[in-house]
Amino acid sequence: MTLVLNRIDDRLIHGQVVVGWGQPRDIRFIVLVNDDVAASDWEQELYRMGVPPEMTVYFHDVPGALVKLDEYRADPRAGILLTGDIPTMRQLVERGRVTEVNVGGIHSRPGREQRLRYVFLSLDEASELRAMAAAGATVTAQDVPGARPVPLGDLLSGNHT
């Protein structure tokens, strides 16, 4: 197997990731790329406690993830590459050859406009997603495996009903 999902989710490790995707895809490891979490033992322990014993979590900042990505891709287990924001995933696309991006959860805050029930984007964030697509990545929005993937064009145009 390999990294079967490259997901942007501002809640990082939570039920949809661990259970929703983790169980049907038999996910055995998560590569969590977040500078703040990578710098905090307490944060890492928090997220480790959120996964079942058979699942391993690896924590990296962006440079560290770029060094290890090929190793994770060669892993015989199924894994998820996870970032909490769009700019971080964009770096992994442009410098780490990530070619498919799942927008799994970006929630409401001031300055963002709702695009889907679980996706709210600022204008800058929408531009960053377009840049990922321009760099060659296939970007879709999908919160759980049973949902229909919404292509980026439909996500940004509002044509997704």
Partner: protein
């Protein structure tokens, strides 16, 4: 108005938080079975950032004056937010993976310290899961 045996109003002793309407469903069941649902403050979480969930939990706990949190799923965002929140609450406790037997035990321990009652209730809830299976038709056993 609660339908329990006491005439004094039941004060909140804990919050219950979870995905969708999980919390209100559980609290509704507690109320129906015991009349003591008012001890529990249900919090529904729909599509919120972790920071906003933490803020919501903090506000509800402060308003209710409680330091016990029950959440639905160990890996869930409510649990993650609650763990962050508890760093700032001396003596607080989080019980993740709550079920109905846990809450029933908790609400009947009115005379106990809520934190100790929550710990006891967690053990009760853990042991309350049972499997009842009929043998397949025609099975004769070994």
């Amino acid at each position: 108005m609660n339908s329990g045996e006491t005439d004094t109003p039941l004060l909140p002793r804990a919050v219950v938080a979870g995905h969708g309407e999980f919390a209100s469903g559980l609290v509704s069941a507690v109320e129906q079975i015991t009349g003591r649902g008012a001890q529990l403050v249900p919090i529904a979480v729909h599509g919120m950032r972790l920071e906003d969930i933490e803020s919501l939990l903090r506000d509800r706990m402060m308003a209710a004056g409680v330091r016990v949190i029950f959440t639905d799923l160990q890996a869930g965002s409510c649990t993650m937010a609650a763990r962050r929140l508890l760093r700032g609450i001396d003596g607080g406790v989080l019980i993740a993976g709550v079920n109905l037997p846990t809450l029933l035990d908790f609400v009947f321990a009115e005379g106990s310290d809520p934190v100790e009652a929550a710990r006891h209730a967690a053990e009760r809830g853990r042991s309350a899961i049972a499997v009842h299976a009929n043998a397949p038709a025609g099975a004769t056993g070994a």
